[in-house]
Amino acid sequence: MKTAVIVFPASNCDRDMIVALEKVTGQKPHVIWHQDSDIPDVDLIALPGGFSFGDYLRCGAMAAQSPVTKKVIEHADRGGNVIGVCNGFQVLTETGLLPGALMRNESLKFVCKDVKLKVENNDTPFTNAYQPGQIITTPVAHHDGNYFADDDTLKALEDEGRVVFRYVDDNGQATKAANPNGSRNNIAGIISRRKNILGTMPHPERLIEAPQGGTDGLGFFESMINALN
């Protein structure tokens, strides 16, 4: 699987994403600087986490206007796969590639902790390695992960099975206590209508080897390889 990781000024989690992709695919991803106007032909483009442009004005707002982002949109429009993790998810909503918006956490505080996610839909190129309804553990680390979409959009997302990850408790219940940021419907990750674009606030790339505390994040990347074959 050929991949590319986009780096904006102050994308901090680019190295983490590069390491994860290389580990799983056996190939070094292309690393694309935001000023580049060309992305080589790849199977997957990853928008990593971090604080692109300092999160100034709105998270992901300025990155959405970078020269390279046009190319990401073109790739997505052609049906190419795109993942956006944390700040990457924010960039995807700012470009309109995914619906809704990520707003300030309800607690108003930055939150870094492990959360439980339910894989609501494993019939996607990003979750086929998980069991349906599987509960996995991944870390979140964000100040603005509060997913908002209006009622109609929310209904569509749910009805069409496009909520891929949901914050749940140990019993798989989407409770308020299990929700780290106030997201509507405890939404942690969603997918586009064509199922080629995924946005997730939790960081699967941070949980791919035992010393990191677990390997539940591996399935996310393995799914993509499965989907390609």
Binding site: R15, F53, G54, F110, C112, A141, E205, G213
Partner: protein
């Protein structure tokens, strides 16, 4: 709009002006001797910051010199921007701790944030990629009216800066005690990873080499000079000089990447961050360190405000700036890197053989100071001190045993000093860079050395009430505790940094605490083969004659050669045996 009088560099230097600049009669006399004439206003400002307590360590130097600083694995001890230790395979760990106490009391968010920014720069200026932040915090009593606001602001500021820069904040310590009611302590520590053959020092060299300013533009942040230092005389002249520095972690992150990119080439001769007293301290240290002079054209300094004077430019504490001496002819190549990262890059001068810091502004020479005497002859006091006798021991027998042990245990575990600090460290991204293998909550933080089997263990510790009760024992205990914490996770303790926070050194009791703590630290460091490689001193942490408890915060660093051997505090399975080791 009122008249703007011309700024006067040659204003009469009165006794009052000298006092306003914090210089004693002796210090001013020495200044006259060094210059051979009366100083200009700009020169007065430069002397005043270089010889301030913060920059010159005048009250503490004499005693700091007694600390052990050597070991076979120490590559650079105190004297450089940060300490450097050998961890094998041509790799080095570079680390230091610094205080930002007074600014954090005034503006907790920005005070703490800029503290983090400052210590990051001290580490990456030497060529290290920062890999971990730690912080040691001391607040007043939990029910003191300001504590909640200060705690919230400081934690938010540390998180806000550290998270944005993308360096994990992996541990620290937090205490609450009434002695900090009027003076909180915010000590920020940073640990970075470098290649041993790519370590950068600050001593300037090469007559004619260009001197480059990179990073953010210079504003009027943090200038505490005389009113005549500013060109603007309006009703709101106070407004013109914000005493609080605001940090921009986004720019800092760009600065880190740009500098590391430049460091990967062979273009750098010397590099220094602009910390306290910004352009002044960095240029004087670089020049005097190399035994050379600097000639600057201040018109070239990137400025954020209109009408800045030389005094303001030299004393400004605007954040996120570095000073670089480059090999000749490489300016364009270096500029390309900083253009990519959207950072200001200005050739502001060059190295001369005069040994002087010579500043010109709009065609006039506004300052011309021999740098070696300025740096080397900074005052060194031998302040009177009174040995602090240990307080009477509180034997456990002098207290009745609690009636209800379980209830007492709950009370203790729920007390401010022992309760969980999760509320704090969950506001810090402690996993970014994906190498944190022991998060906050354990005895020490452990971060992998990327791409290797090694890991670094880090702990900050101090028990101020011990230091108050018996400074020598307290100093020993602080060092020993970091040693134990690092050992407990399976690492081999290598060296320490420190932040010595004390009250007013003009009081002999406080100096006595200082001397005592250092004596204790020295003893522990010698016995444990665990030298001091960097550090910081913060004095005058006192309000209305009441000082803080003596707080020599220690930051220890150790190495695990095999990260898979790391140990945690959580029991793994039922039936395990508990062993108590030691008396």
């Amino acid at each position: 709009m009122s008249q703007t009088p011309a700024w006067n560099n040659n204003v009469e230097i009165t006794d009052a002006l000298v006092k306003e600049h914090g210089l004693s009669d002796d210090e001013y006399a020495l200044c006259l001797k060094i210059l051979g004439r009366t100083p200009t206003l700009t020169e007065l400002g430069i002397f005043s910051v270089m010889w301030s307590e913060h920059c010159s360590y005048k009250s503490s130097k004499k005693h700091l010199k007694t600390l052990p600083t050597k070991a076979p694995w120490v590559i650079h001890g105190p004297g450089e921007n940060a300490g450097v230790i050998d961890i094998g395979d041509n790799q080095a760990i570079i680390f230091k701790m610094e205080s930002h106490n007074h600014p954090s009391y005034i503006e907790p968010y920005q005070g703490a944030a800029t503290g983090v920014g400052g210590i990051l720069r001290d580490v990456f200026t030497m060529g290290a990629r920062p890999i971990a932040n730690m912080n040691a915090l001391r607040f007043g009593s939990p029910d003191h009216p300001k504590t909640k606001h200060l705690l919230g602001g400081v934690v938010e500021g540390i998180g806000g800066y550290g998270n944005c820069v993308g360096v994990p904040t992996v541990g620290g310590e937090t205490n609450f005690h009434p002695s900090y009611d009027g003076n909180i302590l915010v000590n920020a520590m940073n640990v970075g990873l470098a290649q041993q053959d790519k370590i950068f020092l600050s001593a300037a060299a090469g007559i004619g080499n260009p001197v480059i300013y990179v990073g953010s533009k210079t504003g009027r942040d943090g200038i505490h000079g005389a009113t005549m230092a500013s060109a603007e005389f309006t009703e709101d002249s106070e407004e013109k000089r914000p005493t609080v520095q605001v940090g921009d972690p986004f720019t800092e992150k760009l600065l880190i990447e740009a500098c590391l990119e430049l460091m990967a080439t062979d273009m750098i001769v010397a590099i220094q961050d602009m910390g306290a007293a910004g352009l002044t301290s960095s240029s004087v240290e670089m020049a005097s360190g190399g035994g050379v002079g600097f000639a600057f054209n201040l018109d070239m300094v990137p400025q954020r405000e209109e009408g800045m004077t030389p005094y303001e430019m030299m004393l400004s504490e605007s954040q996120e700036r570095m000073l670089i001496v480059l090999k000749p002819g490489r300016e364009a190549e270096a500029k390309a890197i900083f253009d990519k990262w959207d950072l200001d890059f200005a050739v502001i001068g060059k190295i001369t053989d005069t040994g002087n810091l010579t500043l010109t502004f709009k065609g006039d020479v506004v300052a011309d100071i021999p740098t070696k005497p300025l740096a080397d002859n900074s005052p060194e006091y031998d302040r009177p001190w009174v040995k602090q006798e240990p307080k009477a021991i509180l034997g456990a027998d002098s207290f009745p045993a609690p009636a209800d042990m379980a209830d007492t245990l709950l009370k203790m575990v729920g007390s401010p000093d022992l309760c969980s600090r999760e509320w704090i460290w969950q506001q810090y991204d402690h996993q970014v860079m994906a190498d944190t293998i022991q998060k906050p909550g354990g005895d020490a933080a452990v971060v992998r050395v990327h791409g290797t089997d090694k890991a670094v263990a880090i702990s900050t510790d101090c028990t101020p009430r011990y230091c108050y009760a018996d400074p020598v024992e307290g100093g020993k205990q602080a060092v020993a505790e970091t040693w134990r914490n690092i050992t407990a996770v399976g690492a081999n303790p290598l060296a320490i940094t420190d932040c010595l926070n004390f009250g007013n050194p003009e009081r002999p009791e406080i100096m006595g605490q200082f001397v005592g703590c250092i004596e204790g630290m020295k003893e522990a460091c010698e016995i444990l083969d665990y030298p001091v490689v960097s550090g910081n001193v913060s004095l005058y942490n006192e309000t209305n004659g009441t000082g803080i408890h003596p707080t020599p915060a220690i930051g220890g660093v150790g190495l695990l050669s095999d990260s898979s051997k790391m140990v945690t505090i959580a029991p793994k399975t039922a039936g395990e045996v508990l062993l108590l080791v030691g008396e």
